[in-house]
Homo-oligomer: 726 residues x 2
């Protein structure tokens, strides 16, 4: 596909599709990742959408249902019994399942079903359940010392105020605290979470159910995965968080979710709470244009070129092919995601939609009394953004030279570590503290399994060629000093570096890891010397980034306040972009028309498991499950309309990474599903919620109940959740 | 997928799906490829399905609409104006479009639009339009001399009576006649067709519209292809068929179809007439079991092995890879079709359904007065079928040794030709008559482009290994004499044959083509000598096949009569299996649920063209079309419900190969679509019509009208069809 055609396609689609759908930002009833504290403000919307309880109650994190929604750190989960029973995704509990698996007792393959509390096994010392207990606005305290400052100083002032607040908060034993930045520096909240540390595995289906469809079905609908598992949180006999001990007792949560026993159908109200990671919905129109017009196409082009370079360099060397297989697979995944995001944003005409919206916002702003000040900050922010965009490709290329190589990366790590080791541990850069050294050692040890010299040289040659094609004012003196300024010089330099280095020997790398700074600086290894030359450039660029981040922290709030004011003038509330804090979205059970002529129904059934079954992973449904499907005894979990057992469920809920395991609730706040994925058409949703394509994929709790009732029975758990046994 | 798993899958599916759908043969309102003469018999069904005209009129081939439905030989078409205008598929007219294309005037790329009659161009001397004028039952005359005979004698008697009837019929100049065998020898019909020979190309869209989606979308829904073109049939000034001449005039058909201007929606009645090629719906349960249990799995295994053998033999030889690319592509297509048919028949539990139906038929038969005689013939037919099944794999392997090779095939052809040349031309075997020699020469000439010795030897070694693994009583003495009886002997023989032969030289092959029988038999070329040894085996097997065909021609009618009687007792008519004669099917515009969670709507729209457009073949929609879509001016062809322009249309009509170009009509017999494909889920429909999956894919005439009205305007043709210009 040529660019011309791609643009044309975009243009046609823009006119045809986006216009037809009347897309606009902030205009979709079902878009939004709301802070619980905002829900009373949008009570009318929630009620109109079908929520039957008091929306005001959702704002109180100490009351149900919100106090039942917990974070596992990366995943979301919820309490479903007064005895601390927690339900989440199979893939969120996978580490714990793996940890407890042995060749003789393979919980991954066979699943796990603790008959009694005593049979529950530890999810490991790192497993956590975080219960959010407080969420307080601390904007004034965070910004008190920042006001009047700019750039790096502003950044440092915010950082140090935040650290002080956290330290004070964490004086309360058993709690973990953090400061969350809302609306890009406009507001700050102190988040206080009870940190439960004795987490045990209670129930998991075999992975041939929990991961049914695997990578092939990942991001796909229709889906047929039993992606759920149960944990239980334990505390000391004093009721306080404690590390694993046989003496511990189940934690008694302040609230737990009731599991629904009602059927679910298209159009039903649905609500989800969880900890979504990161979105970019409120970025500026210029940032949208840059993402769609430059960043994503560049990433697609760059990753395609790197994949091609590695594959060509490894073409006649089967060993090299194996050594780079995992890196290439990861690059292909990156490429696919970038292409999917690009296609999606183009299909939604995200740039045009955002541009029109921003223009309307600015027009509104200009009619407000304090327009001039706001405009000044908004324009200044735009200049900072433009400035960092100007060197982004260069910085990215330099970053890839370090992250996508093995020997050069090792040399840079060793040089950086020598610099950081000269500081007190607390002041070392994250990633280079004492506690990180084991990880660095592991990384240095695995070089052998991922390295072939001709491939690393070819990859660097490719990245250097791209670097040299950038405008001359973007040159990095240190890079030029090491690799020269043309293709021939680069080839000569690479040959010399890689024929002269001994970093391809594990013993040498570990010797340098153990060496003191003086020994490092005395190293005559050509790659170590090159890394020493390059390090100042890396540090300089990182410093510039922090200064730029500080300026944006100072300036973006003007943009966000204008946006909030503009939306308010239209009677609309604005949710902050996702930042791993507790959020709520609401919407409905929804079908999807992914493309002309195709309609996806919102409920899948066990018939789909049989249709997909091949007997080979990832479509190897267990005999026990297939027999149960054939038997067709679905009891109380049968869908009254479909006349069979449902498996997965689709809604239009607003989710992103981090929402895995999020409870999906009905109009009465009862659990009807567990979020575990979204659809391929929605891969661009981190930038734009397009109501035509944004869907979330959940395990229907009726499938979970059927499996636990009739297939791999867990009657005690069903009783604990006050659910029918069959 | 192991066989065990596959069987298990089938078993589960059988229970789950087939039972749920209550599948049975002969029980679906919409199944059937009816002879027009049967339609009065099923008038009530037709009326109940929604047909609004007199079904009796459909039986008269001299009246509309049936007299408007014509054969192109392989494809179907229909008259749509009193001036002999014919509409069919773009892919059916492709040869004519290609023939008239030059680099300067590329009709394939640019389409064709004759402004006036004078601009219409010849579709070539081989192009034909056959108008069926008579369809008379001649069973008694065909079987008069066969009665009392068996085997080969029965076959010859039927053959010679048929030839006599055809010769007599063709005394009427301008007609082509044939005898069609209905219900496997139960009935014979003399088909008389007017043979129009001056066929001209009138209108065709660019192939980027006519073949939009190409091989990728082939067999797929949703579809977005403008697969249509217009011909015009010409005759001499006397109104009689004549070869191309500028003096000829448009043929005035006895009837033509009116093109509908009404919208179409799901559930609407639809009817299709055409010349379907071949189906196997009324084969015995044992044949179904053999097809699903043995033939198709064998074919899958065999083709996979041949592909693997060729790919391995060509692995280190890029040239060989190129030489065999087309053969491998064809084998892969065969493999895919066989796997699709197998999956489909298993999914439908075709064997179980057919077995239960046959058991019920035999139980019914046993209660009839003449049961004993019928049973005797049915059992005898089963024995003949079992007998030919016993050697089928062997005969197939021997056949593949000839058809999938180049040098061995050439040697066998040359030897066979020498034998046939000794006979009067009329008595020579089809394929070896004088008129076939040009084709043989062409085939001998193209050897160079498709041959590498190590590949042909590897392929023969593989086929011989499979042959030797068969039971000892299936040995072919001649094959053993040439290739030995174990792997080592075969390898030695192949080395000797291929190192000694000169058949890899084109000059040598052409010299032998020109040689007389004595020279052929004196040839010392080792492959020519091997072929001479193998030829008697080939002839012997062919003779045995004819004897077996004769027996089945004699015996199957008992089975068919029992089936017809059984169905009659249930109030159902039986259509004969397809045999390239004119048939009618009826049903409705239908959506499809191809798998759990997925629903296909029955109408696609121009939005799908935009969605699929990549700018690269086969998704390279012309700028003109895309501009027109963007403009959105759909005038009288807009779909009132969808609010946009439809493209393709799906029905549940009963079709098979040969139905390409068939007119699809509404309840009033007006043209609403042109059949051009069926869906992948229906690839097994030649054996079993499964109402859950059998669909046919058509061009919506509204897309055709819009293209001709607004995109590539042909106002004269629209006027000729009395259609609105926009």
């Amino acid at each position: 596909m040529t660019d011309t055609n791609a643009n044309l396609k975009t243009a046609v689609r823009g006119v045809l599709l986006a216009t037809a759908a009347g897309l606009a930002f902030g205009a979709h009833a079902d878009e939004g990742m709301w802070m619980p504290s905002q829900l009373p403000q949008i009570a009318d919307q929630l009620a109109a959408a079908g929520y039957k309880r008091d929306p005001a109650a959702l704002a109180d994190l100490t009351r149900p249902p919100m106090s039942a929604v917990v974070s596992l750190g990366g995943c979301t989960a919820s309490f479903v019994s007064p005895q601390g029973l927690v339900v989440t995704n199979h893939h969120c509990a996978y580490g714990a399942i793996q940890l407890n698996s042995t060749p003789q007792n393979n919980l991954m393959a066979d699943g796990f079903n603790a008959a009694t509390l005593k049979d529950e096994v530890s999810a490991g010392p790192a497993a956590r359940v975080f219960v959010t207990t407080d969420f307080d606005r601390v904007t004034d305290r965070v910004l008190a010392n920042a006001r009047g400052k700019t750039g790096r100083d502003y950044y440092d002032a915010v950082d140090s105020a935040s650290k002080a607040l956290v330290a004070h908060c964490e004086q309360d034993a058993g709690y973990r605290c953090s400061v969350a930045n809302m609306y890009y520096g406009t507001d700050f909240y102190l988040v206080k979470q009870l940190e439960l540390k004795d987490i045990r595995l209670v129930y998991a289906p075999p992975e041939s159910i929990g991961k049914y469809g695997g990578e092939i079905d990942n991001f796909m609908w229709p889906r047929h995965s039993g992606d759920f598992a149960f944990y239980r949180a334990y505390v000391g006999r004093d009721g306080k968080p404690a590390a694993f001990s046989p003496d511990n007792v189940p934690y008694r949560p302040k609230a737990f979710l009731e599991v629904s026993t009602d059927p679910v159908a298209e159009g039903d109200f649905a609500m989800l709470a969880g900890y979504p990671g990161r979105t970019f919905r409120h970025r500026t129109a210029a940032e949208f244009a840059d993402q769609v017009g430059t960043q994503l196409p560049e990433r697609v082009d760059l990753y395609a070129a790197m994949i091609d370079t590695i594959e060509r360099a490894a073409a006649n060397d089967a060993d090299a092919g194996v050594l780079y297989a995992s890196q290439v697979a990861s690059m292909k995944n990156n490429l696919k995601r970038a292409q999917g995001e690009l296609d999606g944003l183009r299909r939604s005409d995200a740039v045009g939609v955002r541009k029109r919206d921003e223009a309307a916002m600015l027009a509104w702003l200009d009619r407000q009394p304090d327009a001039a000040d706001a405009r000044r900050d908004i324009d200044a922010a735009a200049a900072v953004i433009a400035q960092s965009q100007a060197t982004r490709e260069r910085d990215q290329l330099f970053g890839l030279m370090r992250s996508q190589t093995q020997l050069l990366k090792s040399a840079m790590q060793l040089q950086r570590l020598a610099v950081e080791r000269a500081k007190p541990d607390a002041e070392r850069e994250t990633g280079y503290q004492l506690r990180d050294e084991a990880q660095i050692e592991a990384s240095l040890k695995q070089v052998q399994r991922r390295y072939a010299p001709q491939v690393e040289k070819a990859l660097l040659a490719e990245l250097l060629t791209r670097y040299r094609a950038l405008p001359a004012d973007q040159r990095i003196a240190e890079l030029d000093a090491v690799f020269g300024t043309d293709k021939t010089q680069a080839a000569t330099a690479l040959d010399a570096l890689y024929s002269g280095t001994r970093l391809d020997e594990e013993a040498e790398r570990l010797r340098l890891l153990a060496a003191d700074p003086a020994q490092i600086s005395a190293s005559t290894d050509p790659l170590m010397q090159a890394a020493a030359k390059l390090l100042p450039a890396q540090l300089r660029i990182a410093d510039a980034e922090k200064a730029s981040d500080g300026e944006l922290l100072r300036l973006r709030p003007a943009y966000m306040r204008a946006l909030i004011g503009f939306r308010e003038s239209q009677g609309q509330a604005v949710y902050p972009d996702a930042n791993s804090t507790l959020r709520v979205s609401y919407g409905k059970v929804s079908s999807l028309d992914p493309r002309d002529g195709v309609h996806y129904t919102p409920l899948t059934t066990v018939q789909g498991i049989v249709e997909k079954h091949t007997g080979e992973d990832p479509f190897d449904a267990p005999q026990t499950l297939r027999d149960a499907i054939t038997k067709g005894d679905f009891g109380s979990t049968v869908d009254p309309v479909l006349g069979t057992q449902t498996v997965n469920l689709m809604t239009n809920l607003d989710t992103t990474g981090g929402n895995s395991g999020s409870p999906v609730m009905d109009a009465n706040g009862r659990l009807i599903g567990l979020n575990f994925d979204s659809n391929w058409e929605a891969v661009s949703a981190s930038w734009m919620y397009d109501p035509r394509y944004k869907r979330a994929i959940h395990v229907d709790v009726r499938y979970l109940r059927w499996l636990m009732g009739k297939v791999y029975p867990a009657p005690n758990l069903l009783r604990e959740m006050e659910l029918p046994l069959e």
